[in-house]
């Protein structure tokens, strides 16, 4: 602050003087007077507070007391400029407070002149910048954090103004839409939507601005996005209004739903296939169970007829002998009919093809582990020469699905929740094993495991495993269950192996059946 005496002619000199003193004393800024040689002539209360030295201590001492050694030259330069009559405004530097603490300050330095206008001293107003600095540092930190978050969130963030013009966009926006952020800034948000949807979006915004009624603002909405190359994809857009003084800004969060949609669609497709198939399978299964049951009495009839034939001997009445032969023949005929129905039910309409087992397993697991199976650890191991099988893919998926669902259900509430699917080659077959860390098989189901309508579950139908057996046997394979060493159970089924397209797969085909001695039943 300059010495204003010259500007106050109407006031008596000492009135003006005391007014000035009052202002100086009560100022929040430190106000220091000094002579050109640096001797301090005045030191107000704010200076005492800022630098920690009292007026009594400082008046008469050199200003160098509060100047850091490395800033002495700077002070010399300032004095030189003030001597020439210049005023320095808001010059940011540092001063030393009592005890050596550095204080960031903003200085306004003006010359003090005598009655003839000669510069005789310096007035220095120092404003403490440390609070401001701290606020600035905090702000900077927050901004950095905010920017870091924006850089890393998978969601796109776009800031638009009330006219829908893009003000800013984060890197996720660039990834999602394939535009660089600066290409978008200044353009309408519209460019990120297919033509057909643009007008509708504009209407939403205008509608909201006019009525305050929310259609998209504040509510997430799934709509179509358009990438730079014109491809259209499903996205979720959530627009929020940001209240800033003087501006109406909106932030739009964009989530690319492509993956989720594709997954959901696949899941629905697979589920539909499985439902369709399980109907077919249940039919085939019933036929198969029936065939098995009918075969037992047929076998008995055939045996009795044979015994009777022998008992009668060659001398019996020819009509009797013929009748017994007819009993045997009819039993055989009935058995052939049963076999015929059985193989008919077996065939189904889908042809078998060589299939890679890994994707079959992975896809089915994806479906079987939804919901309660989400946190189950699944390990899939494909054995040597056990990567491909000649199968009806959908049917085998059903087998895997049923086994995996059973395993997931068995893992409910278990401390270790693991499922291991392993394939291994055995002669002309691939064995697929599904092992879990559940409680193992209940005693009462062991003996009739694969029979239909056997269940220990409140909501179970008890058809899962019998369907598995039908399908596996239709593939010429077998299915069996054993206890897993260490708890849980292992279901193993076999499928006709075929050698995948792997080069070199042929070099060990020579291994003859019977070489392997281990039998794991």
């Amino acid at each position: 602050m300059t010495d204003g005496t010259a500007a106050l002619p109407p006031e008596p000199a000492d009135t003006a003087r005391s007014l000035l003193d009052t202002i100086v004393a009560s100022s929040n800024d430190a106000i220091i007077g000094k002579r050109l040689d640096g001797t301090i002539t005045s030191w107000n209360a704010a200076a005492e507070a800022l630098f920690g030295f009292s007026a009594a201590e400082m008046v008469g001492r050199s200003i160098l007391t509060i100047i850091p050694p490395d800033r002495v030259e700077e002070e010399d330069a300032i004095i030189a400029r003030v001597r020439r009559g210049e005023t320095l405004v808001h010059f940011e530097t540092e001063r030393v407070a009592k005890g050596g603490r550095l204080v960031p300050v903003s200085l306004t330095i003006s010359p003090v002149r005598d009655a003839r206008g000669a510069v005789i001293g310096v007035s220095k107003v120092a404003r403490d910048l440390s609070r401001l600095r701290q606020v600035y540092v905090d702000l900077k930190e927050r901004q950095e954090l905010f920017l870091a978050v924006l850089r890393t969130v998978p969601d796109g963030l776009i800031v638009i103004d009330a006219a829908g013009i893009v003000q800013a966009a984060n890197p996720a926006v660039e990834r999602i839409f394939h535009y660089a952020a600066d290409e978008l800034v200044g353009r309408s948000l519209n460019v990120l939507m297919p033509d057909a949807d643009r007008a509708a979006h504009d209407r939403y915004l205008t509608h909201y601005l006019e009525t305050g009624e929310r259609r998209i603002i504040g509510i997430g909405r799934v709509l179509r996005g358009q990438r730079r190359d014109g491809t259209v994809f499903p996205m979720e857009l959530q627009v929020e209004e940001v209240s800033t003084p003087g501006h109406r800004l909106f932030t739009g969060f964009v989530r690319d739903l492509t993956d989720r949609h594709a997954r959901e669609r696949r899941l629905v497709e697979l589920q539909a296939q499985l439902i369709h198939l399980s109907r077919l399978s249940e039919l085939g299964q019933t036929v198969s169970a029936l065939a098995h049951e009918v075969n037992q009495p047929l076998a008995a009839i055939a045996n009795y007829a044979s015994g009777m034939r022998r008992m009668l001997g060659p001398d019996a009445a020819p009509e009797l002998l013929a009748a017994v032969d007819k009993v045997a023949a009819q039993a055989e005929r009935a058995s052939r009919i049963v076999q015929g129905v059985r193989s008919l039910a077996r065939k189904g309409d889908r042809p078998r093809r060589p299939e890679a087992l890994r994707p079959v397993i992975d896809e089915t697991a994806e479906l079987a582990l939804v919901g309660p199976g989400r946190d189950v650890t699944l390990t899939v191991r494909i054995g040597d020469r056990a990567s491909h099988a000649d199968i009806d893919r959908v049917q085998v998926q059903q087998v895997l699905f049923n086994l995996l669902r059973n395993a997931v259900q068995a893992l409910d509430g278990r401390p270790v929740r693991r499922i291991e699917v392993t394939t291994r080659r055995r002669d002309a077959m691939v064995e697929v094993e599904v092992a879990d860390t559940g409680p193992g098989l209940a005693e009462e189901v062991r003996s009739r495991l694969f029979q239909p309508f056997l269940t220990t579950k409140a909501e179970g139908l008890g058809v899962g495993l019998s369907i598995c057996r039908t399908i596996v046997e239709a593939h010429g394979g077998e299915i069996a269950a054993v206890d897993r060493p260490g708890g849980g159970c292992v279901f193993t089924f076999s499928l006709p192996a075929c050698d995948g397209p792997t080069p070199g797969a042929g070099d060990r085909v020579a291994g003859t059946p019977g070489e392997e001695v281990a039998v794991d039943q």
């Binding site: 098995h292 009495p297 076998a299 009839i301 009795y304 022998r310 062991r446 076999s494 001695v517």
Partner: protein, 121 residues
């Protein structure tokens, strides 16, 4: 069919009527027959050698093939015919591995059964 057959046959099947019919047929053919309703019952009362074994595959708890595997593990080389309603390549391969001599479709023809038993005795 020759009438001068003899020898011991063990039959294992989980169906009582099937067992009875086998006994009827085989005894009339001149064999002495022991029947068992389960693999476990058979293992608890294995008849003295020599004998031959007719076993059904689809049995609860221990299947026919399980039973044969157990017998082989304990060093028994008893001749076995496996009878099953569902003959499949996998089962035939499996049966061959555990040393089953023949797999017959159920209901089995008398001639096939007698031929097998006669060849063993």
């Amino acid at each position: 069919m020759a009438d001068n057959l003899s020898g011991r046959v063990a039959v294992v099947d989980d169906d009582e009527d099937v067992l009875d019919s086998f006994r009827f047929m085989l005894e009339l053919a001149g064999f002495s027959v022991a029947t068992y309703l389960s693999a476990a019952l058979f293992l608890a009362n294995i008849p003295p050698d020599p004998f031959c074994l007719i076993v059904d595959h689809h049995m609860p708890v221990m299947t026919g093939l399980d039973l044969v595997a157990r017998l082989r593990d304990s060093g028994s080389g008893v001749p076995v015919v496996l009878v099953t309603a569902a003959v499949s390549p996998a089962m035939v391969a499996h049966a061959a591995r555990v040393g089953v001599r023949q797999v017959l479709q159920k209901p089995a023809r008398e001639a096939d059964v007698i031929a097998f038993v006669a060849s063993c005795c």
